[in-house]
Amino acid sequence: MIGVGKAKQYANVLDRPIGKGKQEVSLSAFAFLFSELVQYNQLQVDNIAELERRLEDAGYAVGARVLELLCHREKEGDTAIGYSFFHTQHRHCDMMAQWASHRARVADSLEKGTEHEDEYMISEKELLVNRFISIPKDMGAFNCGAFVAGIVRGVLDNAGFPAVVTAHFVPVDGQHRPRTTILIKFAEEGTLDFQSLKKQRYRYCNEKQDWINRRENWSNGFGMLTYLLAS
């Protein structure tokens, strides 16, 4: 852990490191910040596809950083998250029931695409970023989940699994609000890596292990990512 056991006295308050504080972020603060992000990008573009792309790019930068952070924070108890993903993945299971036992809330479901081998879907009843957002009628199928899709792409890409990630609204029977599905389509090389994954023994990254395998990196990142999106 960084900074542990160094209870230094700082003369100037500005030199003092930021306290750890609560591990929670106010939903309102996040909603306003995200709203500003969308509004700012809206001013910079002249069509909706461009806006979607810009949001995704913003998310990509977050994803790349988040991957690193999550690997650093990884603890032994959490390794099962990534591991269970491999397990279900090569048994071609649809749901990741094991996740639920490790985390209070995970994404509503992670499904494997039925039509294509290399497609995965993360479904969310209500995406955090979309909680307060109503899309105007004239914007059609625009989804602010593009930001989240960008995060997913950032994590995957930096873990060595290039993918195309998109966010879509999917109507649900009997529900007024459509759910958001994040569609992950892996690039060719990503799928190849998948096959070799099962041969690898999964190890969590501890502080002594200075070399973190890219693939393991990915497995940690993905599990944590879905947790992040859902929390």
Binding site: S28, F32, S35, V38, F132, I133, I135, P136, M139
Partner: protein, 141 residues
């Protein structure tokens, strides 16, 4: 029988930004509702000036033979008011709740322009739920 007749939200310059009719007897068209909103805005302002005691924040309740008008003004000057059946209780709570919904679903929506008419699907959905809940509890009393 509807206890709540209609709901208005007016911005700080007196423009009507939201109007919802819940089955009032004399139906009003868009022009009427706009006129009522700006009229109420001015009356509210005048009442503050006319008040014999200092620190008056304007009319909160207007009672007439056939209706009651409950008004809530937020600190930023946005006014929410409901027209309802005479003697309807607990309207202050409903108005505060509507204010809460407004801050959540309107102000946090990046596609809403400040001071402009409210066209937010989520706001309308949760508003309908709030009014429905209020109606059920009014019937239960």
């Amino acid at each position: 029988m509807a206890a709540i007749y209609s709901l208005y939200i007016i911005n700080k310059s007196g423009g009507l930004i939201f109007y919802k009719d819940y089955g009032s007897a004399g139906r009003m068209d868009t022009n009427d509702s706009l006129r009522l909103a700006s009229l109420w805005h001015s009356m509210h302002a005048i009442s503050q000036q006319l008040s014999p005691v200092s620190g008056c924040f304007g009319i909160e309740l207007l009672q007439a033979d056939t209706f009651d008008l409950h008004c809530f003004q937020s600190l930023t000057g946005t006014k929410f008011f409901v027209v309802c059946e005479p003697g309807t209780q607990h309207m202050e709570n409903l108005l505060k709740h509507i204010y809460e919904l407004y801050t959540d679903y309107v102000l946090k929506n990046p596609f809403y322009e400040m001071e402009m008419p409210i066209r937010c699907e989520l706001f309308e959905i949760s508003l309908a739920q709030a009014v429905q809940k209020e109606r059920v509890s009014l019937l239960g009393r």
